[in-house]
């Protein structure tokens, strides 16, 4: 007899759990989110994402699973994000201007204008002009004067021709053609720093994140950013000095295009909360990561405008891949 009394209760409770489950399922996210990293574990991008993960866990009940898909300067990982199912359970980190240059110069298998739904920008790492401590160059003006007086004798170290540094160099060449530099390309920031400190090149275009580690051996003369950076507040911007050059590497997070509106809103909201968390900002500062938040729609507009600029710069230099 008791069985009959219990049965409806059982059914009711089962229905209840079922309905609770369905409401949970409807609540995004209901499972782990894959985070695709295009650079190897322990790299600068990975370090940033790991700091982000710490605070994601504070604001979300679901964790991230890191998937490292490295190679070809990040292009393979970026393509993996673009190809992923747009269900909100695969997102990843992108780098600017890498995504634009890879599309324009290397036939990359994604299109920065259409393949991604941008969540937000998290880092803006401006290019700096740095010289070795004790160098005769004390200002950007010294450099420009020397380059004008000795055309082709002033060596500039950069990492990669098809990179943010390369773009900045093209910009310089176009706007100040009277100053002729000799461009020397290295594999990465480490090799570039060795070349400067060993006296092989006279100056470098280096990212803030890389040069600030060596400020006891290098002098940073200027920064190619819109405003001064709190990491090195005494370094003037190129704009202040009268050179209209802005160049940087930016990191953002994105989902594949076609992601649902609800999922994208959730991701954008959570990332915004992380980026405004004072503890997060303190951690970023400790790791030497110049944090700068920009929301998704603004970042998309930024990518599109940079795409046009880069296309023009590369086609002027004859580096556009047909």
């Amino acid at each position: 007899m008791r069985m009959f009394k219990l049965l409806p209760l059982l059914v009711a409770s089962m229905l209840l759990t079922l309905s609770v489950n369905t409401t949970f399922a409807a609540d995004y996210p209901s499972k782990q989110i894959n985070m695709i990293m295009a650079f190897s574990a322990g790299g600068s991008s990975d370090v940033q994402a790991r700091i982000m993960e710490k605070y994601w866990n504070k604001y979300s009940n679901q964790r991230w699973t890191f998937i490292y898909k490295t190679g070809a300067g990040g292009a393979l990982g970026f393509a993996e994000i673009a190809r992923a199912k747009p269900d909100g359970y695969t997102i990843g980190g992108l780098n600017m201007p890498h995504i634009v240059l890879q599309k324009l110069g290397q036939n990359a298998q994604f299109d920065p204008k259409t393949s991604f739904a941008y969540i937000c920008q998290v880092v803006n790492d401006p290019q700096c002009i740095a010289v070795k401590k004790g160098s005769p160059f004390k200002s950007v003006k010294d450099i420009m004067d020397y380059a004008k007086a000795n055309p082709g004798k002033l060596t500039v170290g950069m990492s990669g021709k098809l990179s943010g540094h390369g773009l900045m160099f093209l910009d310089f060449k176009k706007k100040y053609p009277e100053a002729k530099f000799a461009d020397v390309y290295y594999k990465g920031a480490a090799e570039q720093n060795v070349a400067l400190l060993g006296g092989e090149v006279m100056m470098i275009f280096g990212n803030l994140n890389d040069v600030m580690r060596a400020t006891d051996q290098m002098d940073v003369l200027a920064m190619a950013s819109e405003t001064r950076n709190p990491f090195l507040p005494n370094v003037p911007t190129l704009k202040e000095l009268g050179y209209d050059i802005v160049s940087d590497i930016r990191r953002c997070f994105a989902a594949p295009a076609g992601i649902g509106k609800k999922e994208l809103t959730y991701l954008r909201d959570t990332f915004r909360k992380i980026c405004n968390d004072p503890d997060y900002l303190a951690d970023m500062k400790k790791a030497g990561q110049p944090a700068e938040y920009m929301d998704g729609p603004d970042f998309e507009a930024y990518v599109k405008s940079q795409y046009g600029k880069a296309e023009k710069a590369l086609s002027d230099a004859g580096m556009l891949k047909k």
């Binding site: 322990g42 898909k69 490295t70 082709g152 390369g166 480490a190 400190l197 060596a214």
Partner: protein, 513 residues
């Protein structure tokens, strides 16, 4: 220095007595040795996998553990190099040259103990340099620019001539094939894809590790299976071998060990050149300066000792520029630097003062880890030697699976997995017609470095007053390296001449008698 000793060095050695640190060192070593011994999983991967785990730890504990994994993994690679002729990490390639013949002649235990003791010795020498000479050595490393690196790579490549003296022609062409293979992917100078054979995924290029897994592990599987043997090798462990090897190393191999460890440390300091190059160069130097170079390659203790002490000495060396300048001296050091940054520690000369206690504890842990490695490694290599009692087909099949996992895990790419199969077949078939897999691997490793540095030299030459000549041959380091290169290329001829003279005198002696 005196201040540093009182303020940091003594407390840091005391910090190591913390039971948690001792536990982490032993666990890190054991894990590292296993990861290193598995063909496919390299030291870089072992450390990278554990970096996220350390985020929840105290920075000191985390770094001590990562350092222990690094040391363990580089040593661990020797075990599989000796027992199955498949180097567990790329830095153990040169260990196979003499380790495998030792194993085949039933003396696997001698090889294993030699590698253990020499690794520990090399590691201690490397840590010694790291502790006492970090600053001047880092300054010295800065003098290694594009041209110096170019000549160093060519010097590394010239070891092919010594390595395969009786097969020099094919050796050199194999090296060139390796270099050509390494040009697949993005052009380092222009950033444009090339030699992709119409497959987009090939822009990632032929990565060194899948190529090495193929050339050494997969081809070894085919060779073992084809050999129709029941077991990999006969194995007769004898009592007292450990003591015998210890005495042999302490008396007969002093010079070899010391030279290889110092050279290994110095090569480790250079960014870009890591254990895989150091072990091959040191192996060849030992062979070159030996009274009887013909012993090498036939199961000679000195060969194993030089390669293994060199690759473990690289560890201390590679951390010198990483800690002092923020410039990692090897791929693993790059991962370690990421861990440092994630813990909010900025590399630079400041690191020895501002966060001195942590830095010195880490360096002190390197000494401790290298000493602890002897008992930990001793137990583990006894277990691993049991592998030889397993049936050959089981070992071979298992290696295929491990090789696939290792290749895939590098960058989550099936292309890397197919590279293993491709290079495995190339290595197997090539060996039959006299291709030199060692030379080819050297080409794959050094090819990109040669091309990048040559490119930088040409760009620098546009600005230099004397053009390319001043860039390439200016400075005493360049001249020294060019001289060493010429000497290295002449060695096979000198050896031939020496042998011929020796034979002549022998003949004379015979006729006189």
């Amino acid at each position: 220095m005196g201040v540093a000793v009182n303020e940091f060095i003594l407390p840091s050695f005391l910090n190591l007595l913390d039971p948690l640190n001792i536990f982490l060192m032993i666990a890190g070593l054991a894990g590292g040795i296993v990861v290193g011994a598995l063909p496919g999983l390299t030291a870089t991967m072992g450390v990278a996998l554990m970096v996220p785990v350390t985020f929840s730890m105290d920075p000191t504990n985390g770094l001590v553990m990562l350092g222990a994994i690094y040391v363990g993994a580089i040593y661990g690679g020797a075990n599989s190099a000796i027992l199955v002729c498949t180097p567990g990490t790329p830095s153990s390639v040169a260990t196979t040259f003499d380790g495998w013949p030792l194993c085949q002649s039933g003396r696997a235990d001698e090889g294993l103990y030699t590698s253990l003791l020499s690794s520990s010795f090399g590691g201690i020498i490397g840590s010694f340099f790291l502790l006492f000479l970090a600053a001047p050595l880092a300054e010295g490393a800065l003098n290694f620019g594009a041209s110096e690196n170019f000549w160093l790579c060519l010097f590394g490549l010239s070891t092919i001539a010594v390595m395969s003296a009786d097969n020099m022609g094919k050796g050199l062409v194999s090296g060139a094939v390796g270099m050509l293979v390494s040009t697949v992917g993005l052009d380092p100078n222009s950033g444009i894809p090339r030699f992709t054979f119409g497959i987009y995924e090939m822009v990632q290029g032929v990565a060194v590790i899948p190529c090495m897994i193929g050339l050494f592990s997969f081809s070894q599987v085919l060779f073992l299976i084809g050999s129709q043997r029941q077991h990999i090798a006969e194995y007769h462990p004898r009592k007292g071998t450990f003591g015998m090897i210890f005495r042999y190393l302490a008396t007969k191999c002093k010079v070899v060990l010391m030279r290889s460890s110092i050279m290994g440390t110095l090569i480790g300091i250079l960014p870009g050149a890591g254990g895989e190059i150091a072990s091959i160069i040191c192996y060849n130097e030992s062979k070159r300066w030996d009274k009887d170079p013909a012993r090498y390659g036939k199961g000679c203790i000195e060969g194993v000792a030089s390669s293994e002490s060199a690759n473990n000495a690289v560890i201390g060396g590679s951390m010198i520029p990483m800690l002092t300048l923020g410039i990692p001296g090897s791929a693993v050091a790059a991962v370690l630097m990421g861990a440092l940054l994630a813990h909010g520690l900025q590399p630079g000369f400041k690191i020895f003062t501002a966060t001195g206690e942590l830095t010195y504890t880490f360096i002190a842990s390197q000494f401790a880890v290298n000493l602890l490695m002897i008992p930990v490694g001793f137990l583990l290599c006894k277990c691993m030697a049991r592998l030889l009692n397993l049936e050959l087909s089981i070992v071979a099949i298992a290696i295929v699976v491990l090789a696939y996992i290792g290749a895939y895990a590098i960058s989550n790419s099936m292309v890397d997995l197919w590279m293993v199969v491709l290079f495995g077949v190339i290595g197997f078939l090539g060996a039959m017609v006299g291709w030199d897999a060692g030379a080819m691997a050297l080409g794959v490793i050094l090819g990109p470095m040669i091309e990048e540095n040559l490119g930088s030299c040409l760009q620098l030459a546009q600005a230099a007053d004397g053009g390319l000549m001043t860039v390439m041959a200016g400075g005493y380091i360049n001249k020294g390296l060019i001289f060493a290169l010429i000497l290295s290329l002449l060695t096979p001829f000198l050896l031939k001449w020496k042998n011929a003279r020796k034979n002549k005198t022998c003949d004379k002696g015979a006729t006189n008698a």
